[in-house]
């Protein structure tokens, strides 16, 4: 049978729509933003084409670098928490009995079925002063209070003060962890799932316990997946916009919000474009590091 790739017409018909789509709706806007990043802002907020590096220089000013730095460590903390929570989860799903595996995987991706905005609002309902978490704490407090009254120790607990859980940076990190967790679990799960079980068994057989097997065999072999997961979460958190807007406080501005502000209320598209490209360059550097690491472990078949 003829291979469709050999038929130039068929190949063109199949390739052109997708290529055109990417060109028109992805590459072209990106090029426009790139060109804008060298432009100048007019007095009424117009964008004049020019060639100036002023926007980049402004982006590297201390106040903006501060926001960028805050974004980076927020993303780093989010990634770390996601890994601590997500790696055991991925292990659990990958090594679960076959009949539960699909159900567990479904639970991991279930949040994707609801709109991100709605899910983030749900977190507001959980975290706010009169939210579910504070209600729960209040209930526990009440019960403990009753318990202490019973043993003739009234007022030990004091009156319940609801915790300020919302509209601060912790809330942003909680929200980011929640959003990004599946992106960490899925690639790690995928590599663990493909791992030959007999490699772990061989390690046990040769006298290593479960922890050593994890450290010397499972994690090194799952490393490409772990790296992919970490990068996905980091990049995703770095450029976040919605979560700080809804859950964050006055000090929670991240680079995504700054960019939105420049394109929106500030009407400074050239500066917004420069910031966007700064973010993109950071992403490129991360991807480049990943490629280098991948090349080093090349030839190792997992």
């Amino acid at each position: 049978m003829e291979n469709w790739r050999d038929n130039k017409l068929v190949a063109a018909i199949l390739i052109v729509p997708a290529s055109a789509w990417i060109l028109i709706f992805f590459t072209l806007p990106l090029v426009i933003v790139w060109v804008f990043s060298f432009g100048e802002r007019g007095p009424q907020g117009q964008t004049f084409l020019a060639f100036t590096l002023d926007n980049y220089a402004r982006a590297l000013e201390l106040i903006h670098l501060g926001i960028l730095w805050k974004s980076i460590w927020t993303a780093a903390i989010t990634t770390l928490i996601c890994f601590i929570l997500g790696f055991p989860l991925a292990l659990g799903v990958a090594f679960a009995p076959a009949r539960y595996k699909n159900l567990l995987l479904l639970l991991v991706i279930l949040p994707f079925w609801t709109n991100l905005l709605i899910r983030t609002y749900a977190w507001i309902a959980v975290l706010r002063t009169r939210g579910f978490l504070n209600f729960g704490l209040e209930w526990v407090h009440g019960k403990l209070d009753a318990l202490f009254s019973l043993v003739k120790l009234p007022d030990v607990m004091g009156t319940f003060q609801p915790l300020a859980l919302l509209y601060n940076h912790s809330a942003v990190i909680i929200g980011l962890v929640y959003v990004a967790l599946p992106f960490l679990v899925l690639p790690i799960y995928a590599t663990l799932e493909k791992l030959d079980r007999s490699l772990m068994e061989a390690s046990l057989d040769l006298g290593a316990g479960q922890w050593r097997t994890m450290a010397f065999v499972t994690i090194p072999l799952a490393f490409p997946g772990i790296l992919s997961g970490l990068m996905l979460v980091f990049i995703l958190s770095l450029g976040t916009y919605l979560t700080p807007v809804l859950l964050g406080g006055t000090d929670s501005m991240m680079i995504g919000n700054l960019i939105a502000q420049e394109f929106g209320p500030a009407r400074d598209w050239p500066f917004g474009s420069a910031l966007s490209f700064l973010l993109l360059y950071i992403t490129f550097i991360i991807l480049w590091i990943r490629a280098v690491v991948a090349r080093r472990s090349k030839g190792v078949s997992y």
Partner: protein, 363 residues
């Protein structure tokens, strides 16, 4: 402890998966120290499950496994005096050959100076000297197999377990490795237990073979006894090729059995033990002789029609059909260049064999 105490005692071991699937059904086996033992059976017969229970990857549902006098109940795989060579080799892909072999020593706290000495020795043993710094993906399947062997042997286990170790190798390499495995086993003196579905592999390497079917051990015997005196139709059929004819026991004459073979008539066959009613008479194809003229007495003999002749170089297989329509196959040596062609398809020949070679199978 005396040396004739079995190194492995498997005592009424049963394994039931998910409460419904019986993989191993009340198996009891004693394996002597220094023995090369084979678990042989078709896929799904429970042989690998039995091996994995010895290694500690599965726990018996009921029954006991004793290794070197120690009950293995509740002992984790990493604390058992056995090591395994996996079907997929399971060579760690992210470690060099030397690191693979050193792994089992390192994790159990063997001194580094000791490891430096033992690893090259182990690699020498499997003829991989000089391969220390190769990565597994640079090795052929056979070489990975050797790394896996060295890695297990360097631990000096009481028992080495081999799970279908040669099934992924091509035929020529497999035969060479079979001989090498036997030599290796003799030189290190460690008990080997090999799981295989290949009867020729089991016959050529093992001192003793347990034939398994549906989770049960059907027969335990040395290769010769297993081939010449299988105790059931299943074993006879599974080990090598065999012809089976239906017959009825007509009577007993001293140590002989008089049987009525369908389409052939009454024949006297030496047989120990009890037999009555319908039985199956079995004869190995290479013991069947073909003659143009009626052969002498003390042979089971009848005329058959040649249905087909298949030439295999050193031997030919002659497919025959007797008067009752039963099929038989005779394997003859091609002593003359025209042996195969001299047997004409469609012609009638005398088929015969020594009565004493006939097996009477009752189950």
């Amino acid at each position: 402890m005396t040396s004739n105490q079995p190194i492995i005692r498997i005592q009424s071991v049963t394994k039931i998966f998910n409460r419904t699937v019986t993989a191993v059904d009340d198996v009891s086996l004693d394996i002597a120290a220094g023995e090369f033992f084979a678990l042989l059976g078709p896929s799904g017969c429970g042989k690998t499950t039995l091996l994995r229970m010895i290694a500690g990857f599965e726990n018996p549902t009921t029954g006991r496994i004793v290794v070197d006098g120690q009950d293995m109940q509740g002992v984790d795989p990493n604390h058992r005096p056995v090591n395994m060579v996996f079907q997929s080799y399971a060579v760690f892909p992210h470690m060099t050959v030397a690191k693979n072999v050193a792994y089992g020593l390192k994790v159990t706290g063997v001194a580094n100076s000791e490891i430096q000495k033992m690893v090259p020795e182990a690699l020498q043993l499997v003829k991989l000297g000089g391969f220390e710094h190769r990565m597994p993906h640079q090795l052929s399947g056979g070489q990975q197999q050797r790394v896996s062997l060295a890695r297990a042997l360097v631990k000096k286990p009481k028992v080495l377990l081999l799970d279908e170790p040669l099934s992924a190798l091509d035929a020529k390499l497999r035969e060479a490795m079979q001989i090498e495995l036997v030599n290796l086993q003799k030189s290190v003196g460690i008990t080997f237990i090999i799981v295989t579905h290949s009867q020729s592999e089991a016959l050529s390497v093992a001192d003793r073979i347990a034939v398994m079917k549906d989770g049960q051990v059907k027969q335990v015997a040395d290769p010769l006894a297993l081939y010449e005196k299988p105790n059931s139709q299943f074993c006879a059929d599974f080990i090598g090729k065999i012809n089976q004819l239906e017959a009825e026991v007509a009577g007993v004459e001293g140590k002989n059995l008089v049987v009525d073979i369908r389409g052939v008539g009454k024949v006297v066959i030496p047989h120990e033990g009890h037999a009555e009613g319908r039985v199956s008479l079995a004869i190995r194809p290479e013991k069947v002789e073909l003659n143009a003229h009626e052969p002498g007495d003390e042979r089971v003999k009848f005329l058959s029609k040649v249905a087909n002749v298949v030439y295999y170089g050193s031997t030919s297989q002659v497919f025959l059909e007797n008067a009752a329509g039963d099929q038989l196959m005779a394997e003859i040596r091609n002593r003359e260049s025209n042996t195969a062609t001299s047997i004409l398809i469609g012609s009638e020949v005398w088929v015969s064999w020594k009565a004493a070679d006939t097996l009477v199978l009752t189950e």
